[in-house]
Amino acid sequence: MGMGHNGPVTEPVLLVIVVATALGFDFTNGFHDTGNAMATSIATHALKPKQAVLLSASLNMVGAFLSLAVAATIAKGIVDSGIVTLDVVLGGLAGAIVWNLLTWVLGLPSSSSHALVGGVVGAVLAASGTKGVLWEGLIAKVLIPALLAPLIAILVASVATWLVVHLTRDVPEKTNDRMFRWGQIGSASLVSLAHGTNDAQKSMGIILLALIAGGAVPQDSTVPLWVIFSCALAMGLGTYTGGWRVIRTLGKGLVELEPRQGMAAETSSAAVIMLSSHFGYSLSTTHVATGSILGSGVGKKGASVRWHIAGRMFLAWLITVPSAALVGAACYRLDQFAGSYVVIGFLLVIGGVIVAWSRRKPVNHKNVNDAWEAGGGAESAIAESLVDHDPSLLVVNRKRSKKEKKREKKEAKLAKKNAERQVDHVGVH
């Protein structure tokens, strides 16, 4: 940011708005990424939906406190750090938030850090043109890893799943389910913890930079305690709110998961995420987690993978940076032209519209695990079970119409009552 004012706070309003927006981004980051850790545990009934988001939220908060090696940089090596001003940060955050909300309502997992990078790149482009962006860094650190991460995760998770399924093929299914659910909870917890550490620190870094640039804290300040608390809290709340749409896509949309696959997928996610940062080739949690779930379908014989849904996700990942950049650039211009109040107002309106849109077809902890293809009906279920040589698919179908059954029962009761009443009537006469 390179403009250290150690005197009075220079632009208090802008500073407050940037901090609030950063916390807002932290919140969307939390709810967008709950599924990375918990979708499989919810889908395999290792945890009840509410339990899962509570566990994940707590671990995200613990993770936020666990390590305070905050890297106070934004998009380092991707944009020229000399031109990252508070206004650029605000534009970047706005772009990231809008992209996160939009992908959430579509139920698409998407990387929050890529969205942030995209937003900042867009704001930098609007602020100082193409020379402010280090294109090689953008390609090498963001775009290519986005393509490679799912491939690596698919490879690791499919090998893991194949090994697990092979080794436990003659263990009773009940025992498998019980034991692997525990393993799954353990590995999902690790993913949550790592996410809290990684991603909450991003927001802390942004706020710290903003505070330094705004002159609220000295140049060499460490992260103030209230920043750690509020970031941990915002992310925890976001996680607890549960991005049920994304969870549903990840847990039910890609592969029908059983606990053995869930455990293999979650463990390879945790391993690849942590190792990639260790070796200095950071991969997005979202891309890895999604790839792992796909891999758990590839590695199990007879499991079908809905590649068309995966394809939609890959497409979303490819356009994450340009889309967020577009919004980021627009918000930067809006900020320059009309002021930061207007940017906040714009974000609130967009947020409201998207939430209203999501209400039309709500996904929550109650219906998050419903069968993916609701309109399939009995015939397609029978066909599916014949094709897969798997009679258990028919059981799933019975579950699917539980609601209908309830309704039928109710109607039957009503009919009975009516009949009785009629009998009474007849009896009186």
């Binding site: 090689e136 690596i152 893991a160 263990v171 393993g183 913890l193």
Partner: protein, 78 residues
């Protein structure tokens, strides 16, 4: 293209990722198999001690991997 991909780091991630990411679930599966797979119980004595020892060994390795992962996260080596 080669200047855009850090092949070395990428290879490290893939190889070690395979060893850890597929090895740990496999070890866990071995533990489950030792406990509940065919031949784990005899008619009279119940579970065989050797199988229990094997399972404990597997789960201990998996458990210590998890603990070292938490330590690594705490050290900021994420």
């Amino acid at each position: 293209m080669s200047e855009f991909i850090e092949w070395r780091a990428l290879a490290d991630v893939v190889v070690v990722g395979l060893i850890v990411g597929a090895g740990l679930p496999a070890l866990f599966a071995l533990g489950v198999r030792a406990l509940a797979g065919p031949g784990s119980r005899t008619e009279v004595e119940g579970r065989r001690p050797s199988r229990i020892a094997g399972a404990v060994a597997c789960f201990t390795i998996v458990g210590s991997a998890v603990i070292s992962a938490i330590v690594a996260i705490g050290n900021g080596g994420h």
